[in-house]
Amino acid sequence: MIVAGERYGFFTDTTLCIGCKACEVACKEWNTLPADAIGITGDSYDNTGALSATTWRHVSFVERLREDGGARPTTMPPYQSHWLMMSDVCKHCARAGCLEACPTGAIFRTEFDTVVVQQDVCNGCGYCVPACPFGVVDLNPHDGKAHKCTLCYDRLKGGLEPACAKACPTESIRFGPLDELDRRARRRVDALHALGVDKAYLYGVPDAPGATGGIERLNAFFLLTERPEVYNLPAAPTLPSRRIARGFVTGLATMAALAVAMVAAFRE
């Protein structure tokens, strides 16, 4: 049962990802998102590149050789690489930079504690785009609106889990209530540590990397085995709105000082 008022999210366990991109395809199919520019990036098996207005799941591929270190618990033959794969997605931040930046109220928090752009309200000002600390939301030049993952708001309304989680064959992507996901994630980290995968840690749970600088937590969080930058994630992002008050203080103080200079200049 998916109930309004409960907090939902994704737990993406990168140690289970096999890079099949079923999540990308399921997302595109369900949300009728068009294909992006077809081409070869040269970046391992990643021809998707990045999240965009028309790509709401993106599987990243990091090919590592033995010299690079890594968590593969066996010796590797020469020329053999091992994979780090991660299905990236909108983090549906507990305090979301995009939502806070949105001047029209188009971006709102749903009854499932997810963050969604209302397409009938967005006027394409584009301020959410540089505001997002994770580079997720983007404008679509064809319709002039901002788009990103909705955590399948329509499916949740109908009592169904999001398309990507449904399609994931290894349950690397799990959908569920946050408290349940948190428990599951911590058990998984403990299990991996017991197996000797020392590097496993959670990205985006409270007080962990990713949930910094006022962001509190990421409703879509991850289990990683390398430092965040390897997956193109910031270690300690901050909430942009934190910088507003101090900016106004120094800005208006400067204007006040200049006003005093103006009074002095016009007197006499």
Binding site: C125, V129, V137, Y201, G247, F248, T254
Partner: protein, 334 residues
């Protein structure tokens, strides 16, 4: 079969995330195929023009109001120039913003909500107040000029006060708008950019008013004094800003390439050093003050354009973003 290699390595910096503290490991320069970690803004010449015009208009209103309150009769032409410039900026500026929307026909959705966590929302309402008050002030000014009745000039004087307050906010909020994003070049200027925008607004407003007073008006010594002070302050703040960028290793998007030319030769050279040099020569001819004013205006626009484009370049550099988002940069979990 054999000893797993990873066991012999030192404790992973991000292993066993403690609930109490953030792991702090030196950043090794890892990126994901050099791909940007954040998205750059879609802002370009229209937004840079708005920053220039909005700041100019806001500060013009401040200068006009203070000139009116302090100097009254002696600076009539300065007051008039300031009030009309403020109105012009308050009309053209928002038009530029609406044209820059990707769905311009929905511009009025900006007035659906007021949100203090969004500098854009703060700016929307500030601009609405500034535009309305500037229109009233300019209307009273023109009625006073046409009818020669002191009553209308008195009305302009007192509506000018709230108009000037809104103008002051209009001049600086754009700096906060850039700083309250995730773009490293802008974000590290959180306290400096709004101050720089305020000083640039004052210097460009002074220059525009000097030109707008017309060729037949007598030289305005107050405006010349003000130009020296505002431009000097602007130069000082731009030096502080650059020191901040360099300390964090984030300066290169604006100190290399064509953006650097716009920033150095345009923003700092034309906009600050040329006018300061002209004012320092003690040549008090009309031509000298015109040269200084035109240089200030050109530099004021190039400064904004360089900051906008430099920020877009900064967002495309994952290493800059990761360097800035290291835990040891004093970022606390909550």
């Amino acid at each position: 079969m054999s000893v797993p290699e990873f066991r012999s390595t030192a404790r992973a910096p991000y292993g066993r995330t403690s609930r109490a503290e953030m792991p702090a490991a030196p950043y090794r320069g890892d990126t994901y195929y050099e791909r940007p970690a954040i998205k750059s803004s879609y802002y370009g010449h229209r937004i840079a023009s708005y920053f220039f015009l909005g700041g100019l208009a806001g500060a013009s209103q401040v200068i006009a109001t203070i000139a009116d309150l302090v100097a009254r009769e002696r600076d009539r032409s300065t007051v008039r120039a300031g009030r009309y410039l403020a109105l012009a900026g308050a009309v053209v500026g928002p038009a530029l913003l609406i044209v820059d929307l990707h769905t311009p026909r929905r511009w009025y959705n900006m007035f659906r909500i007021a949100r203090r966590t969004s500098p854009l929302s703060i700016g929307t309402w500030t601009l609405l107040a500034f535009g309305t008050l500037s229109a009233l002030t300019a209307a009273a000014q023109s009625l006073g000029d046409a009818t020669r009745r002191p009553f209308f000039h008195g009305v302009a004087r007192w509506i000018g006060v709230p108009a000037a307050v809104a103008g002051g906010v209009t001049s600086v909020y754009t700096g906060t708008l850039l700083a309250s994003t995730s773009v490293p070049l802008w974000a590290v200027g959180e306290t400096v950019l709004p101050a720089l925008f305020g000083a640039a607004a004052a210097s460009t407003a002074t220059a525009a008013m000097t030109l707008a007073r017309g060729s037949r008006a007598r030289r305005s010594r107050p405006l010349e004094r003000l130009a020296r002070v505002a431009t000097g302050v602007e130069l000082l703040i731009s030096v502080l800003l650059e020191a901040r960028w360099r300390r964090r290793g984030l300066a290169s998007p604006i100190t290399t390439g064509p953006v650097a030319l716009a920033y150095r030769a345009g923003g700092q050279g034309l906009g600050m050093l040329v006018p300061l040099a002209v004012h320092a020569t003690n040549v008090r001819t009309r031509r000298a003050s015109t040269i200084a004013a035109v240089a200030t205006l050109a530099g004021g626009y190039l400064l904004r354009a360089a900051l906008v484009l430099g920020g877009n370049a900064s967002a495309r550099r994952p290493r800059d973003y990761f360097r800035w988002t290291q835990p040891q940069n004093g970022i606390r979990p909550r």
